[in-house]
């Protein structure tokens, strides 16, 4: 195999431009169609609850399979072998938790945001403010990581400047969200998920065709070339405490991600919600297995040196593999798919932020629950536009910064701020408003503070000599503290109204629209 190959990566090529414009035209067509169907806030934020289980399964998978996981995990596997699989497994194990504990009660109790579940029993104002605060914090960190990633990736793949890439992603995704709302965003996710899954599968098959379609032959070729350690755990997981901490954030973080939770409101009932997560888990699991093969394929067929020569982080492993097995046209196709992936994820994030701003803050805090249909829709659109601008600005501000830790931080906050209050409010009749606020704020603040003082930010970014907190991921501290605060503050306060409502909430949570 050639150790270094000439690549046309980074030069705009005809196929990538054609595929990209084909994707944008199709999705704009969908947006136009969706815009005509979007007349109410419920259609704008949750597609009117008419999404089917299969559609939602693909949309959930689309929301979750970011360009970072596609390019990043393939790159990690290509450059360090087995360790990439540890990440994949971690990203997947959150989904069963979502299925078992969250999807059905959430669907039965809520309308637009996860705060609906909490305020079924607790006081509107404080809980909505706290929930919107943690939602927007999670969304912001996730958005920064996506936008900076988008700028870098698009620059590397298409050769257009960073700022133009960030602007293009922001504007196109805003068109989807602003005009087509959740209906368009759902369909963009579905199209993107189908493209990404089929593109990655095709790429894996083409790579495997060089190895008699036997992954083991590919793995041993990699072991021959780079040593047997590519099949063994490397330096990714070292300390057990660190491993458990990251594990907690990944396992319970998915169940607290606002843009994932919001998807359960787009389906008709709890049964559909449940079925849709099964599809999503299957699709995402399959995708991670395919990515593992792509990484090994790239390390053997492209070569580690060639991959690192293009991008030291290894992020271009999958596109380079596409070029090696399918030439420039296939490189163009895979690059366009990666761009589509970024667009769709950013659109989903923006919409869930808009739901928190319009439904939690405007409708319930500022207007105290009394708003007309038209006003809700207008406010949701204005909130989307504002968030779109914020996304572009964040992308520009964080240019050149190391933002890889921000997705981990978003998961840590989601796990320790959103997940505990959801579980406590569903299962514990003594849970109070003050307990919920204390739990949310503790989870978010502790996560952010610990990560700033951790090696990731304090040493790597702020260039201090030693970290003030040795943990890279705050999960093991933040999650238990958040639960503890929720429980202790609830026990110290008393809220007879919340307790009295528990029986009714329990009934609705289980019976759903049978009630």
């Amino acid at each position: 195999m050639s150790p270094l190959l000439a690549t046309s990566l980074g030069e705009p090529n005809l196929t990538s431009i054609l595929f990209f414009f084909a994707f944008v035209s199709v999705t704009m067509g969908i947006t136009y169609w969706a815009a005509r169907k979007t007349k109410t806030a419920s259609e704008f934020l949750t597609a009117g609850g008419n999404v089917t289980a299969v559609q939602n399964g693909f949309a959930l998978a689309g929301d979750y399979m970011s360009a970072a996981s596609f390019l990043g995990i393939a790159g990690l596997v290509a450059t360090s072998g087995f360790d990439g699989l540890i990440y994949s497994v971690g990203w997947l194990v959150g989904w069963p938790v979502v299925t078992f504990l969250i999807a059905e009660p959430l669907r039965n109790l809520g309308k637009f945001t996860f705060a609906d579940v909490l305020t079924a029993r607790l006081q509107q104002k404080p809980v909505r403010i706290a929930a919107a605060f943690s939602t927007l914090t999670v969304i912001s960190f996730y958005l920064i990581a996506q936008m900076v990633g988008a700028g870098n990736l698009v620059r590397m793949m298409f050769g257009i400047p960073y700022e133009a890439a960030v602007g293009a992603v922001g504007v196109v995704m805003l068109l989807y969200v602003l005009f087509g709302g959740m209906i368009a965003t759902t369909w963009v996710q579905i199209v993107k998920a189908v493209l990404l899954l089929s593109g990655a599968t095709l790429l894996a098959l083409m790579a495997l065709s060089k190895f008699g379609f036997n992954p083991l032959t590919l793995f041993s070729a990699a072991a021959d070339q780079y040593g047997a350690e590519v099949l063994a755990p490397g330096k990714l997981v070292s300390s057990p405490v660190e491993a458990v901490s990251l594990g907690l954030a990944l396992m319970f973080g998915t169940a607290g991600l606002p843009h994932i939770l919001m998807r359960f409101y787009t389906v008709r009932d709890a049964r559909t919600a449940r079925t849709s997560v099964v599809y999503a888990t299957g699709l995402i699991g399959f995708f991670y297995l395919v990515t593992f093969i792509l990484g090994f394929g790239a390390s053997v067929l492209v070569g580690r040196d060639a991959i690192k020569a293009v991008d030291a982080g290894g992020n271009m492993a999958a596109p380079l593999l596409a070029e090696a097995v399918g030439g420039t046209p296939f490189l163009g196709f895979i690059s366009a798919v990666a761009f589509a992936t970024i667009l769709a994820v950013v659109a989903g994030l923006t919409l869930s932020g808009a739901a928190a701003l319009s439904h939690d803050l405007w409708t319930h805090v500022i207007r105290k629950g009394v708003v007309g249909e038209k006003e809700q829709l207008t406010v949701a659109r204005v909130a989307s536009a504002a968030l779109g601008v914020v996304a572009i600005v964040l992308g520009l501000v964080f240019k050149g910064q190391n933002v890889a830790f921000m997705v981990g931080l978003a998961f840590a906050i989601a796990a320790s701020s959103n997940f505990p209050v959801l579980i406590l409010s569903m299962l514990w009749s003594r849970f109070t408003t003050k307990g919920a606020v204390a739990s949310i704020v503790t989870g978010a603040v502790v996560s952010v503070v610990l990560i700033v003082l951790s090696p990731t930010v304090w040493v790597d970014i702020l260039k201090n000599a030693a970290p003030l907190v040795p943990l890279k991921n705050p999960g093991i501290v933040a999650l238990p503290l958040s639960v503890l605060m929720g429980v202790v503050v609830s026990l110290l306060t008393s809220e007879p109204e919340a307790r009295a409502k528990y029986a009714d909430v329990q009934r609705r949570m289980e019976l759903g629209n049978r009630a």
Binding site: L92, F100, V244, G247, K368, Q506, E510, A515
Partner: protein, 108 residues
């Protein structure tokens, strides 16, 4: 209290104790299953990462040419995650939903 827009179909009457107990019985059946399956996933996953943290060579042992214990376990957990989710949905569709339908019909 502020008017609640978010609450769909709030039952106007307070449910009777009897029907509430029936709902609770079915509900606790689901929560038990949900918590047991979550713990299964948690234990499986943490066993995997702690195995990596404590004994890397063991996971690097080759079972056959090109296949290590770690790869089998990692891929196995991905399949387990899907398997548990699929099992739960099968169980809920087959056992839990009919039980709820019964309670909803039997209730006042």
């Amino acid at each position: 209290m502020t008017p609640e827009l978010a609450a769909p179909a709030v039952t106007a009457t307070t449910p009777s104790n009897e029907s509430m107990n029936a709902v609770r019985a079915v509900a606790s059946m689901r929560w038990r299953m949900a918590i047991v399956l979550s713990l299964l996933m948690l234990v499986t996953y943490f066993a995997f990462v702690l195995g990596i943290a404590f004994d890397k060579p063991a996971l690097g042992t080759l079972i056959t040419q090109g296949l290590s214990v770690g790869i089998v376990l990692g891929a196995g957990i991905i399949l387990t995650a899907f398997g548990l989710t699929a099992f739960y949905a099968w169980w809920a569709n087959r056992v839990y939903d009919p039980a709820l339908d019964e309670v909803a019909r039997g209730g006042p």
